[in-house]
Amino acid sequence: MKSFFPSKWVAALLLVTAIAIPLLTSNTYYLNMLIMAFIWTIAVSGMNIIAGYTGQLSLAQAGFFGIGAYSLGLLMTKAEMSFLASLAIAVALTGIIGAVVGIISLRLKGHYFAIFSLCVGVIILLVIEKWESLTEGIRGLLGIPIPKIGSFEFASMSSQYYLILFFLVLAMFVNQRIVRSLVGRTFISIRNSEELAEALGINVMRNKILAFVHSTVLAGLAGALYAGYIRFLGPDIASVEHTFDMLLYLLVGGISTLWGPLVGTTLVMILMQLLQSWQEYRMIFFGPLLVLIVMFLPYGIMGALNRLKTKRDSRLLSTPDENAPFQRGVPDHRLAGGEIDA
């Protein structure tokens, strides 16, 4: 159960810093960057549950992000519902669509599932784009009102920041609880060997769907928050490139680690902004960098740190910590099928 942030104190410190930031700067660009990073972190952490812990690489995440965003946008503009109600419905709707998609697609295995979900993502994008009577098509959905809870308007950057920070903390907390629980272990056992999990009486399909729905719910939440923040939607938010961006954040941060999504998303987004001024040289530099990252940091930043730590711990292996019966080994090499065939 030990990840690199061993004590609650580090997490608490981070949280306090995060809360303090708007008080220290009013630079809307910096706040905007953090807000975007938080929003994407929520979506990426969902991807982490299905891909990292359950071993099913879903590439439809941006599609579900789009569903969440458009649901909120449409409910607030066309149905003129309140922000909170729209948020709840948007998230629930994404989850329901996620369940349907999951039931169909999770019968597929390995790369088939991955590419299939990629296609599901493309379909979602195309539907958003073509269903003009509902979504306004490529022109985009305009005029999403400023989110309001009661009489409080989230008009300023810092109020938006706190709103989204709240949901980020919530999402990370829930994920942490899940991953460290029996449910999370069940997911991990499916990643390792579906056959064995099945033999142990685990309803693999149901658990996969559960993990998938959870991941889509987080994507939907992120999308809905995004819509409430940016207040203008174009179909491209559901595009496949965003899925790959998310995958990249996840890998850089460390797949199947709790803090990976946050670390990866924040770092890569900041890096991309720093590289902005390089203009057309940006991708010439960033492409190879990406290759180098996966070559030399194959488990991402948090994965590498965790490994360092397990290595250190393993020297003390003979005297396990009595209070930590839930000690976990290193994260898996493979997405699926990490069983030993003797």
Partner: protein, 256 residues
Amino acid sequence: MLKAEKLTKSFGGNKAVNEVDFHIRKGEITAIIGPNGAGKTTFFNLISGFHQPTSGRLLLEGVDVTKKPSYRMAKMGVARTFQTTKLFAEATVIDNLIVGHRLRTKSGLMGAVIQSKRYKRDESACIEKALQVLDFVGASDLAYRPVASISQEAQKRVAIALALATNPKLVLLDEPAAGINADETSGLADLIKKMKQAGLTVCIIEHKMQMIMNLADRIMVLNQGTKIAEGTPAEISQNETVIEAYLGGAHHAQAH
């Protein structure tokens, strides 16, 4: 306990298991032997729900379980190990085992998130069970080692422990002694006896005849998908058909 009636499985035109009638009796150790490709593993796959039979019936304690998927079979008390030891490689031994008891718990995602009372109870039940079965197979000292780092024989024990963690009534073992040496094999045989003493029903596939002859109460012999003999070890070792199809001459030299 478990009864197979005319159980058949064909792959394409090839009948891997052909109209096998068989009865596993409660509290006994039953063995299945037969040449390679005889259909033993396939038979296991059928009675543990991994494959659906092409025809025939399967009864568990009188209940028809013919088309039940494997996770349902596990819940009904049928646990199995695999011919190639399957374990969650990179987790520690204890972590492997905790999931083993998951099927006996009911709390779900919500419970885990809010850490409900029931969830906490479930969690400690799982840990307790894991430690208990680990003790049972005699591998308590390995609890915190990553599975990949322990010996093959230990992995076999852990695989059995994993099956036991599901609270089974019937345990199916597919070649548990393959690839381990004589010394360790006898240790494993002791463990299987201990399981029987603890009231479990065991069904085992094995090629190590010496072990089987000492261990089994009854033996079924499969050949090319059909049952060619059934009986006590003594009967089987005298059975001409079996000797011809499977045991061969060397058997006498070795087993006695």
